[in-house]
Amino acid sequence: MALIEVIANDRLGRKVRVKCSPDDTVGDLKKLIAAQTGTDWTKIQLKKWYTIYKDHITLGDYEINDGMSLEMY
């Protein structure tokens, strides 16, 4: 529905901006990131400090809004 842009930062030099909607799950987000970075989406772990984002929860529920950056490990 809504278009939000989420930034995934790897802290090693890889920074990706992904367009997605708040209804997408984290897993979908990971797929989009994988498509852009070229890694395997199952190997991506999105975190914020020690909070690991689980795959089956939507971004809206995690309250990941437009312009937020997540750590990619």
């Binding site: 809504a2 842009e5 990706v16 992904v18 909607s21 970075t37």
Partner: protein
Amino acid sequence: MSLEESISLEETNKIRISLGLKPLTEDAAPADSKEKEAEDNYAKKREQETKERDAKKIADRIAKVRNRRELNASLKGSTLGDADGDDDTLKWIKRSKKKEKELAKKRQEELEDMDKQFQEEYTERDLAGLKVSHDFEELDEGEARVLTLKDSRVLDDEEDELQNVEMAEDERTKKRNDLKIKRRDYTGYDDDEFTAGNANMKKAILAKYDEDLGLTAPESGFRLGSSSSPATKAERAEKKEKEAAASVNKSLLSIDYAKNLELADYLQEGDVGFKKPKTKKKRANRRAAADAELAPDDAMEVDVKPIIPRVRDLDANFVDDDELQAMLARSRKAKVHKPKKLSPEELAKKIAAERTREASGAPQDIIKIEDGEEDQETGLVFDDTSEFVRAVGLNPVVKREPPEASAVPARAASPPRRSPSRDVSMAPGDQALEELEAGEVTVKDEEEDDMAVLNAIEDALKVADAQPDDTDAIGGTSAEPTFNSGMASTLNLLRQQGILATPSADQSDRERIQLQRDLWLADQRRRVAQRELERLQSRGGNKDQAQREYENRMREQQEARDNLESFKHYKPDVEIKYYDEFGRSLTPKEAWKALSHKFHGKGSGKMKLEKRLKKIAEEKKKEAMASGDTPLSMSKAFQQRQEKTGQAHFVLSVGNRGAVPQAAEFFDAQPLSKGKTEKKKQKKNEGKPNQNGFMTVPAPLQQLHLADSPAPSSGVQTTSGSPAPRAGFSRISATAVVEPSSQGGTPVPSERVKVAFGFAAKRKAGEEAIEAPPSKRR
């Protein structure tokens, strides 16, 4: 930011489609939908609330109005303000009465209604079946007891029980008191479970600690309204017993045994008593029976009674019949000892009598003695009492019984016996021996000893008579005491010669006391023997119990009196000797110490013990020393050394200048070491064969000279003050002493060479000494 990779929306949508996600729209979707929702909901809520409030208000208003109307309705009717003056007081009174009645009726009805609710009919029927936890018997008739519900556990779902509080309390206190008084401690008897009745009881361990938790249902108790009458306590107990017996398969017997009646000690009226035996009849019987029994000599059986018409008391008790027993005993004795027996006392008296008659005639005595011996051989018992009595012999003369004439056969069986005719020629030594034997109170072989003693006494007396003859025969030797007559003369001789010390006054005193004591002892023994004799004699008399007892008592009293008297002259010679663990006899002080240690349980400390041991060692040394020697046995040590070395002198110590090296063979014990006296002698030539052993031969030589020079001149040298003597090594200072001894005694021939050297050395030493006197003054 520039480093961020980003793709466009279309590409994103493409990827999304490939993934299966919805493509994104461009516009930012209304992100506030949720908030809106929230607002909507909130608005709705508020509307609802307002609506409710309004509704409530309306409802209240309606209810208020209705209330008022109802209230107003009750206000209908005439008020007090309405004029009611038409009624006069009478009517009013009637009206008020009526009203009251109605009111009262109403109240009554109400009360009855209430009562009815609570009070439904509650009779015995309701209580039927309830359990009461007291004994039926305990609830006496005629008393009204209030029973209350007994406390019970909630969860156990037990039946309700009724009990009277006071009675329950009584029971409890009684039980408590019982427990306090009755101690269920372990008594050693069997536990309850072993009694026959409680065969099924559980095995109780430490039953005295079991708490009575009251879990067991009260056996005693009954149900209200129940028709069956409960068993009484006794019936119940019996039933229990029967069950128990049945379980153990026993049948209960009654133990009422007619014959097991208690007996009283005293004769009751109906009992059969004892009959006093009649003595007269028995006497006649006895005489006849005795004769009859003696006649059949061969029949040893006592049971065989002669066929004499004798009145026999069949009820008599054979064991208690003293006369009968005496009779039997006598008959028995008669069979065994046919000739007349001589008791030891009588024999002693006989011998005493014989002795007094010696002068009358020797052959007579011989025969009598032999007869006496013969009597002895027929089985008299001799013990040390009689033998000693005979030896001491202060018995009064008693009439001697006529001896039985019997042949004088050769007594080969008695070796120590020597016929008196040979006594004169007997060697004095034998006599002495015999007298010694007589003096001692030991009984080796009774018969032999007795005879020896007898013989000895006879012999001594005989020899005493014969002695003057002997001396005359030998010729003029009466002045000189000889050995030929016994111990006493020997001792006298020795005393005269001075070899034996005359006894001191103390010793003679003691001897006297000892003699008295012996006399007293002999007296005692004689008395004891006499008593025995009397007792034996009194047995078998024809007295009854009472008389016998009386006599016994009298005798005992007499004995006691005699004892008392005899102890007046009692002079015991008591000497207590103490010995320690080494076997030495202790002085009073030492004995006291030893006893004190034993009593208190602790001995002396280390120092004291060492002191004591040292003292003992010194004593031993003193004892061991020879009479002509010093306590340290110097001469003996010197002799030893001389033997070993072959040299007749000692080399004394050097002092601070070092030890004198000596070969080991010279030594008995420790070698010389530093710290000796200055004096030293040495031989040079003799040292040559031994020079290997010597290290400082040249050095001390000078000293030797020094030492030697004054020695021959003075002839006396003083030892320096080295006080501690070495074991096996003594210091002999003076050469003068050494020289003669060396000349005198050089016992070892094997060392002849050395000896020669020694002499030579001596002379050389002397010469050298003369040579170098001035060196001393350095």
